[in-house]
Symmetry: C2
Subunit: 221 residues, 2 copies
DNA sequence: GTCTATAGTTCGATAGAC
DNA sequence: GTCTATCGAACTATAGAC
């Protein structure tokens, strides 16, 4: 049991750096978060970041894949359990898709993770390496959920399932980062911080939207 | 008619700077786009940016409010027309909310605007001035559309209407920037660049989701 | 209104001691 | 594996000529 302890290892400097990087990249973006600031937040020298991760891009990629991998493993495990038990409902599939990201945001290792906004920023970045990172991190998981949606909704075509998947993810991800907008626009009736209330609405909204896409006419002129 | 010509004025250096700033801020983010790069893209000296807009923040704010103001004027004009004619459908309201942003993205003044991703990045930025900018730019428009949704859907409460509005905007905005994901995930059945096809699906998806929120139980434990 | 030139700061990355 | 010290480049912003 010596050496690389599996599972819940004691926090190493290497992990501390990833935690600090995630918090700062999420808050300030790739260019806005400096290696200096990350090193200071992690409590280590700046040179140590380059020793472990070589470049700033390398650090970003390591931070991104650690979290996205953890989230996707939970997603797919839940999906596999549901598929093994029978035909899951659309609501079940959407819940399995969305809740793991919220739970990752409550990660006890750091307060107030905002990984959701990091995904959005990385998806729309101009750099090819960032789009490639998103593709490598999420595409295979996304394909399995799109297939599951088509299985749960006869009549849902490939294009509609893809758009539906992207709508669902976009609707929820944009609400996971606390922007304070829900509180303000609702006059206090909705609260940004109440991610459970948000998620229960998102599941209702998304499931109904997906069902409508399954029955809508193929249209296009 | 001399002096400040209203309407479609000939492109001035001041406007050229805003065009270049919008393209670069959208592509690289606030920190990632440098004043040097913006000046070069606009074909003017860097000092001219500071002469017209004082600071980088000032330039960003001028760029942001120009586009958001133009979009919101169209949105509210369409909403007013619909309300004057009678009780608009949910589909009509969603269409009036979403289409102006897509049309702004096709702005002939520049190729391939990606203002949608700029809104997302600005909404989730950590800086208070950016969140404040989003609030000043969008809150009053959003309140009017939320009220219109509640008018079109009896049974839709304030909290549900607010979450629903935010879901609709989040679902559509995340698909307006061409990420290439729809093409890849659908095997070519859906195409990122076909924003009209995306929007027609978004309207179906969003209207059904909003209707479901209007009839769902109040839940919360 | 637009330019050149530059001051002063911060950045990513590396060298080299321990 | 972790540190201090530093290099060279890029950054925002300003001064001052035209």
């Amino acid at each position: 049991m010596a050496g690389h302890t599996a599972g819940t290892a004691k926090a190493t400097a290497k992990e501390d750096i990833l935690d600090a990087a995630e918090a700062l990249f999420a808050a300030r973006g790739f260019e806005g978060a400096s290696m200096r600031a990350i090193a200071e937040a992690a409590g280590v020298a700046q040179a140590l970041l380059h020793y472990h991760y070589k470049t700033k891009e390398g650090l970003f990629e390591a931070m991104f894949t650690r979290r996205s991998g953890a989230i996707n493993r939970i997603r797919l495990a839940r999906l596999d359990v549901m598929l093994a038990r029978g035909r899951p409902t659309v609501e079940d599939i959407v819940e399995a898709l969305l809740r793991p990201t919220i739970e990752a945001g409550h990660d006890p290792s750091r307060g107030g993770s905002r990984f959701a906004s990091l995904i959005l920023a990385t998806s729309t970045a101009e750099g090819d390496w960032q789009k490639g990172l998103v593709a490598r991190s999420y595409d295979s998981m996304a394909e399995r959920f799109i297939a599951a949606l088509m299985g749960a909704l006869p009549g849902l075509g490939r294009a509609e399932a893809t758009w539906g998947y992207l709508f669902v993810v976009g609707a929820a991800l944009t609400q996971m980062a606390p922007t304070g907008r829900a509180d303000r626009l609702s006059g206090g009736a909705a609260r940004d911080e109440d991610t459970d209330a948000m998620l229960s609405r998102a599941v209702i909204f998304a499931a109904a939207g997906l069902k409508a896409l399954a029955t809508a006419p193929p249209d296009d002129h």
